[in-house]
């Protein structure tokens, strides 16, 4: 198992939170600060969790993902998306009942199948999906080491 890492990036209000390796937030209480700053971003449009490179996720991280989804629904009326390719991770997400609060997809190049309509003030569902997809492609096109695109959340939180 690789030690865990959480990277975040945003592109025109679309946030991508990428988890790598064995993600454990055992003693990281500052994630909340990030969540607040994300939702307070006036440009905030939607959020995508990219778990395609995650090997394992601990319960704290799952709890925070759920929190982000529930706050996203309440404050912005959005359903976050989760990209999960690893069957084990998919199984954990299903076990946790996350299919109800996330749009879980196993690849992004196919049209995204939203479980429920995405409500957004000034754009329709298709546009939001297109934006999420575009943001993801732009951000994923850069490698994880590219500090310009991705901030290492844990580092960022430790230094904030």
């Amino acid at each position: 198992m690789k030690p865990g890492q959480i990277l975040v990036a945003d592109h025109q209000g679309v946030y991508v939170i990428k988890m790598l390796g064995d993600v454990r937030l055992t003693f990281c209480v500052s994630f909340d600060q990030f969540i607040d700053s994300m939702f307070n971003d006036s440009q905030f449009a939607s959020v995508l969790f990219d778990l395609s490179e995650a090997e394992a996720i601990d319960s704290t991280t799952l709890g925070l993902m759920a929190k982000i989804s529930i706050l996203g629904q309440e404050r912005h009326g959005i359903t976050p998306m989760v990209l999960a390719t690893n069957p084990g991770i998919q199984r954990i997400l299903r076990t946790m009942g996350f299919a109800d609060i996330f749009t879980i997809v196993d690849k992004l190049d196919a049209p995204l199948l939203a479980e429920r309509a995405l409500v957004c003030d000034n754009c329709d569902e298709q546009q939001v999906k297109a934006r999420v997809l575009e943001a993801h492609q732009i951000l994923m096109g850069m490698n994880a080491q590219n500090a310009e695109a991705f901030r290492n959340l844990v580092d960022m939180l430790q230094n904030s």
């Binding site: 319960s59 704290t60 709890g63 929190k67 084990g88 199984r91 954990i92 076990t95 009942g97």
Partner: protein
Amino acid sequence: MTNLADRKLLIIDDDALVRQSIVTYLRDSGFLVSDTGDAQAALALLQDADHLPHLVITDLRMAGVDGLQLLQELHDLYPKLPVIVISGAGVMSDVVAALRLCARDYLIKPIVDLEVLVHSVNRVLDQCELESENLRYREQLEAANRELKENLRALERDHIAGRRVQRRMMPSGISTEEGYVAAHTIAPSLFLSGDFVDYAHIKRRYLAFYLADVSGHGASSAFVTIWLKYLVSRMVRDDGLFGDENSFEQGANTMLQQINRELHETRLSHHLTFFVGVIDTFTGQMRYVVAGHLPMPILITDTGAQYLQGMGKPVGIFKDVIWSTYQCQLPERFSLVCFSDGVLEILSPESLEEKEAQLLSMVASSSGTLDSVCNTLAIREIRDNPDDIAVLAITRGLSE
């Protein structure tokens, strides 16, 4: 940094002309300068602690004074006071001796360009400032370190106490007249965590049990387990949970709904995964609910071992959840083994699917009793596991 204008210098030189030119130049450069022509007067000046200079500039060759002797005295009396030596074309042995006595610099007279002296003074003062800053930092760090270690010790004490409390709240094995046995073990991790097990034989008929895993680690997770124990006990005592036919059918869902509601109200920012089961010991019927829990419990009967089926959301994330209640007719001889997810971390395969398959085959190869399962998985020998491993076994008709 000391303000430049506050930097006090003391010049000791018996050559009044040279001394005056140095004093003037240094004053023009912004220093506060006092001066004296002899060593005794200098030592007397230095005794005034309020006016102790930041730096001394002294000649080594003065009438009737051994400059090295003065240097020695300065070093003994004021070890932190930096000294710059200026001296006529001295012998090499003078230079070496002066440097041995911790002179910070050695300039040869005549000093043609006094800016060299200013540069030297500034450099030495900056160096001293850095050194004292370093010392301050080191003292602060050491103090912080001591404090951290003490806090850590306190935390460890708290953790040990927390763990003891947690342990005390768990039951110590029960067996019923009908031959049902409930027992558990917990292999503790490095950190206090949120695995919790409880079971009770209610109204001498219903054997109710649950295994819960609170998200996260540390004291707050442990507190949640203690709160949970209190909550469930209260429901059993005051609301008749699992005390009759109706509650046998519905109780597990009722219990989780209540915990879910209270978790939302208390905003504990923890969620829990659960397996809750209740067996009617008169009929061998079991009802159970699953709440986000992995791995699923394993049922071993004479026909083999398999995972129980069922699904449900974890507790404390979603509002207004209804948990599906599943049914199962237990045979005369069986073993039901529940694990917390910590057990998955000690299995060698990479993928979850393979881990689950390995766990099933290992448990199937055991006799089904708690001891046999723990021995097969070598759970009690594990050290430094990242997560607690809780094992709860409900058995009937097995020889211990």
